[in-house]
């Protein structure tokens, strides 16, 4: 009976809040019941992060990402082309009405990074390796999927909850100390290790679904990754430090693509025509070089 009463209490609170996080808690009822009585402050911190708050955290993370990767390439034609490809896949995502921004990072390393609120970045080095627009669309769709699936936001939400549990009183983005504390705690882990491996696999799957919805060749992301396959740990490129074993990702995508039976546009020629890359780029001297060790 105690269990029933606890479950009823959780359900009622979930209905009152209309909160997905609390609904999830129902599925983990006993453990979650303990969390629920952990205090109103902690419960508030478990609430979904709103769009303005997401943009604040995402913007701050974007600042540090851009700094780490040596700045942005200021080439409007290149940025516009990458933006068109990125917005094409984002338009068919689960969160199509966020304002997405697609920037090119001044780095010859091979990587792409996204940040909540719609910020997506790809390095010149990654663009240089691409053989088709479908590959570019695939990598951008992977990053868009991190945003639509709220992978980083979940980590930020948990960091907020932990901070509330240890007594941060004014846990809002308007409190500069709290805001910086959360962003820095996130970045410490994110810049060194990236997102959890399961979220990378999910972003691969969702990104490839996006390719199919948009009408691109579903092999785009898979082909790009296949070109990156090296024995894990044998490269100093930061890509390998922040992503799961590439050969495993490729195999999973092969199964997904085969099951879908989808085909689509590759647009190798259009990319060749529209994507003019700068000569070898060097990071701004004021910013640190990209290193797999950091």
């Amino acid at each position: 009976m105690r269990f029933t009463q606890t479950l009823a209490a959780i359900v009622c609170v979930a209905l009152l809040c209309g909160c997905g996080a609390i609904k999830d808690m129902i599925l983990r009822s006993n453990k979650s019941a303990a969390l629920l009585v952990g205090g109103a402050q902690a419960a508030a911190s478990k609430a979904p992060i709103g769009i303005e708050e997401e943009r604040a955290y995402g913007g701050a993370i974007a600042i540090k990402v851009v700094q780490k990767y040596g700045g942005l390439v200021e080439d409007e034609a290149l940025t516009r082309y990458v933006g068109l490809v990125g917005n094409s896949v984002a338009a068919f995502s689960d969160r199509p009405n966020i304002r997405y921004h697609f920037g090119v990072l001044k780095s010859e390393g091979i990587n792409a990074v996204s940040s909540p609120g719609g910020y997506v970045f790809i390095t010149v080095g990654a663009l240089r390796k691409m053989k088709s627009e479908a590959e570019l669309a695939g990598v951008l769709a992977h990053e868009v999927s991190h945003i639509t699936a709220r992978h980083a936001l979940e980590i930020l939400k948990n960091l907020k909850a932990k901070s509330a549990m240890v007594g941060a009183a004014a846990n809002t983005i308007d409190n500069p100390d709290f805001f910086k504390g959360i962003v820095n705690a996130f970045l410490d882990d994110f810049l060194a290790r990236g997102l959890p491996q399961d979220t990378e696999f999910e972003a691969d799957m969702l990104g490839t679904k996006l390719l199919i919805s948009t009408g691109y060749d579903p092999n785009g992301l898979k082909d790009f990754l296949a070109g990156m396959v090296v024995p894990h740990g044998d490269s100093h490129d930061p890509f390998y430090d922040t992503h799961p074993d590439t050969s495993v990702r490729v195999k999973k995508l092969e199964l997904q693509i085969k099951a879908s039976g989808a085909t689509g546009q590759n647009h190798a020629e259009r990319m060749k025509k529209l994507m003019k890359l700068p000569e070898l780029v060097k990071a701004d001297p004021k910013t640190p070089p990209v290193s797999g060790a950091d």
């Binding site: 009823a8 209309g18 769009i51 943009r55 600042i63 200021e74 966020i98 921004h101 009408g215 259009r270």
Partner: protein, 170 residues
Amino acid sequence: MFRPITIGLITSLLLLVFAGTAVADDVYVKTRYAKLRAGTTSRDATVAKLKHGAKLTVLETKSGFLRVKASDGKEGWIAKSWTTPKLRSRSKFLEGLGAAARGGGNNDVSFTAGARGLSSQAASFAGDSPDLKAVVVSIEKLEKIEVTVDELDKFLQDGQLGDYRQEAIK
């Protein structure tokens, strides 16, 4: 005999199950925008341009396409995969907030929903660091490079993507 707590539990569960469930014959546009066409191919005339969240009443289903009626009474065909029986409640809630803040509302969220520019809290993250301030300026420049609906539509059309996919041409 049912105890009040049990009745409350059942009522709450029923409300939870039915909360946010759309009427079976209604669907919503789940992509950023979509065209309602006179037929099921990309050669058919455009009847209306629909935005994300637009509510449609299903009149007929035919091999991956739906004949629907929009809220303004216009009827046409749309790919089923670009619609959803219900908008995700959290997404609708969050994005709806953004639209409402700019005088929008309903489910008719605009293409350009979302505040413009780096948020003040994010910009303040740069503090007094000249390097980070320079990064803020570069991100603000990036944010000014906007892709309009027309540009995106032309890009998709040129590439036979989205609404212009070959599969839609029969």
